[in-house]
Amino acid sequence: MKNILRVESLTKRFGGLVAVNDLSFEMEARSIHSLIGPNGSGKTTTINMINGTFPPTGGRIYFGETDITGMQTHKISTLGIARTFQNIKLFSTMTVEENLKVGGHSRLAPHGVVSYLLNPVEARKEENKLQVASEEIIAMLRLEDIAKSVVASLPYGKLKIVELARALMSRPQLLLLDEPAAGLNPSERAEFIDVLLKVFESGIDLFLIEHNMDVVMNISDKITVINFGSKIAEGDSASIQNDPEVIKAYLGEKYIMI
């Protein structure tokens, strides 16, 4: 199988602290790949580097065949990598629908200001495309009832889904999700898994960071476990759950497979 994402000896230092240490892994195309590990083990840092929030101290990142190490965030995004954030980053004074439209801006409405002003017909077309796409995604994630609400007034759990919806608007090939299910209760999580699977089926590969094992274990094709920035285990959910090191460092003795 082809790789959609390949990370080679990735390292990140903050001053004296090594947050990610010589990390390498590969993610296959058309798969759901999870990255788990204890708090502060470098998961968020890893996807921050993949999506270009900051450059790695060392190592390389490939998206398909393209070397994206150190590229700017917006370039990486236009190549087809979208993401959500651990501490939700939405446009809080705008409505859900408007948030989605901004998400689709670069893919569906790429014209510049001048051409926008000079060509009203094309401008109208672009706007329509955005409208259609956002309605589609709103329907898919069942956000109809809040589509016109201003984001600032929504509860935490909903915001997570809105953020996911916005990321989908750019029709990425690869979606990086940083704890998308945090703040959902078990029933909501179950629904959320359905949503994620639907997203995956629509052709988007998922790279997932999550502390809720019901989500991770149920949908991941492959799981990479890191601790102190280095890989300690990799494999499918069954092997990970039984890996003593993983149990010790991360899952805890009490963890029982549901």
Partner: protein, 318 residues
């Protein structure tokens, strides 16, 4: 309360009123005041992109306005080219300044950016004031020729009035189209959460520079118009105070809307005049009114009436 659809009607009413105004009163005092308000409106339309939408406080607009005015004034009085040709140069300058000012905005946020823009305005004013040989220094530039349109010299206040009205409507239209478009959304997005903008595949740097450039071009053009409107310019006009007035226009009128800029520009340029009957107290009363507006309705007068704002989250206690 009204929605965006109603605003169209309001614009229509406003435009008709503006067209008809000279028929009702051709008092030079009022006409001139409105002319100035039109020029300010153009600046406010532009500034709205930065301050009203991307949420960055630009306190250097007077500097751009000044460069626009001096460019046009010096070109027409020293090289005797047509004001229209000068306008092209002004637009070009606007572009250059916009990019030059936009660049710091990439690295600086909030007050840091405000400071840079203040410094920029101050540098421009001091340079204009002190490069006496080139700019005429504090003496200013006088006898700036008026615009010519289809062989008509726009030398009477009435002609000037209609000319400026037409230009303002044009810029208002441009501003309107930008605000209620994907660009408007992205500008607001920048204010709300700049990191997220980049992950949406939009270069936030580029968008910021676009906003600054639009604002700079608007302000520079307005400056050019101003030079020919007033016929005489000197550096003492282009102070930090003027920059503040521009921000006041955007804020008090209603940030993020064209109608707000229109209202703001009219208020700021006409309200003090209307208060003159208060004699010694007119300035302080004006400031107090603006002050009350900024603290009670920080989003501006128009937004109080626009439906959209109702759903906005209220600030919490503490």
């Amino acid at each position: 309360m009204f929605s965006r659809k109603h605003t169209r009607k309001i614009y229509a009413v406003l435009i008709i009123a503006a067209l008809a105004f000279p028929l009702i009163s051709n008092n030079t005092y009022y006409i001139t005041m409105l002319c100035l308000a039109f020029i300010y409106m153009i600046v406010a339309f532009g500034l709205n992109f930065i301050t009203g939408m991307t949420g960055q406080v630009n306190l250097g607009t007077a500097g751009i306005f000044c460069i626009g005015a001096y460019t046009s004034a010096l070109l027409t009085t020293k090289t005797f080219i047509s004001p229209w040709l000068a306008l092209l140069v002004v637009i070009l300058f606007g572009f250059v300044i916009g990019i030059a000012l936009g660049y710091p905005s990439l690295r600086l946020k909030g007050v840091y950016l405000s400071l840079t823009t203040i410094a920029f305005g101050e540098i421009v004013r001091q340079l204009v004031n002190n490069m006496t040989d080139f700019t005429g220094g504090a003496h200013g530039v006088r006898a700036i020729p008026p615009y010519c349109l289809f062989g008509f010299e726009l030398n009477t206040k009435l002609r000037l009035y209609y000319f400026l009205l037409a230009v303002t409507i044009m810029f208002g239209l441009i501003a309107y189209r930008i605000i209620y478009s994907k660009w408007g959304r992205v500008f607001t997005a920048i204010r709300d959460n700049i990191d997220a903008v980049d992950t949406c595949g939009i270069s936030s740097s580029k968008v910021k520079i676009i906003a600054f450039t639009l604002a700079a071009v608007f302000a520079a053009i307005a400056g050019g118009l101003y030079a020919h409107y007033s016929g005489y310019i000197n550096p003492s006009t282009f102070t930090l105070n003027l920059s503040v007035s521009f921000v006041v226009m955007v804020m008090v009128g209603g940030s993020g809307t064209v109608l707000g800029s229109v209202l703001g520009a009219v208020l700021v340029s006409i309200l003090p005049e209307m208060l003159r009957f208060l004699g010694n107290y007119y300035q302080i009363v004006f400031y107090i009114l603006v002050f009350i507006c900024t603290i009670l309705i920080p989003n501006g007068i128009v937004n109080v009436f626009l439906e959209r704002q109702k759903t906005k989250a209220l600030p919490e206690k503490n």
